[in-house]
């Protein structure tokens, strides 16, 4: 039986300072649609359905919120996806912006 010897290299203790994924730190944004007097309600509903794939009922709920409250938060997303949605909405000439969620 070979003699027991102490290991020459003692493993170091590793301390993980944080185990959360990188995504949890990535900033998120609210995609907001703002009211204007020129876009038809039926048009705004159509655009929401087209871009977000929403059913009519949900699209109309957000459209009414834009109409009555002046704005509606449509989605909360990471930067890249929020940029995509803003670009799509503005492509239809809706007034859309992305605002930092925190």
């Amino acid at each position: 039986m070979p003699p027991l010897t102490e290991p020459s290299v003692i493993p170091q203790r590793t301390v993980k300072s944080d185990t959360r994924s990188k995504d949890q730190f990535a900033p998120t944004y609210y995609v907001v649609c703002w009211n204007d007097p020129v876009n038809f309600m039926v048009f705004v509903t159509h655009v929401f359905m087209k871009i977000f794939g929403w059913k009519r009922q949900k699209a109309e709920k957000h459209m009414m919120e834009v109409h009555e409250k002046g704005k509606s938060v449509l989605v909360r997303e990471g930067a890249e996806k929020a940029e995509f949605y803003v670009q799509q909405l503005q492509g239809y000439k809706l007034q859309a912006t992305m605002e930092p969620a925190e």
Partner: protein
Amino acid sequence: MKLVKQTQRGFQYELNREDVESLRFLVKQFPITAFAPARVSKTDAGSKAVEREKLINESLQAHREELKRKARGLVLRERFKTSEGKQFYRISLRARETMLQILNDIRVESWRILGEPEDPESAVFRVAGEKFRYYHFMRLAGYFEYHFLNLEEERR
């Protein structure tokens, strides 16, 4: 203008002669203004936001150029078929989205030229001369938008 046929691939509308000429004239006007950069955020003013706004506006400008390239093709004379004295216009689902974007660009930009009135319809009482054509464009674009969309909705 009325919807006469709807399939999974697209729509067919019946238009009168005046509608045909108005739609062709209007779409050929696109774009009625030069591209103007849009605000992308009301609260974020950081350097990343500035860069983001620049990139989104570049993308919007390229998209508008693409719409411009497609506009005339959407209203070529041969797209309007005449049968038994009636005129028909066939448009695919995708092309209809392009058409709606073009029409709404004309509508919104006309409204801006008119000074962004709170009540767009009332603008008629305040505009004169050269600007009156934009009031006409805004209303005409709205007329076609409404019919391209609403007639489809009524059938659901």
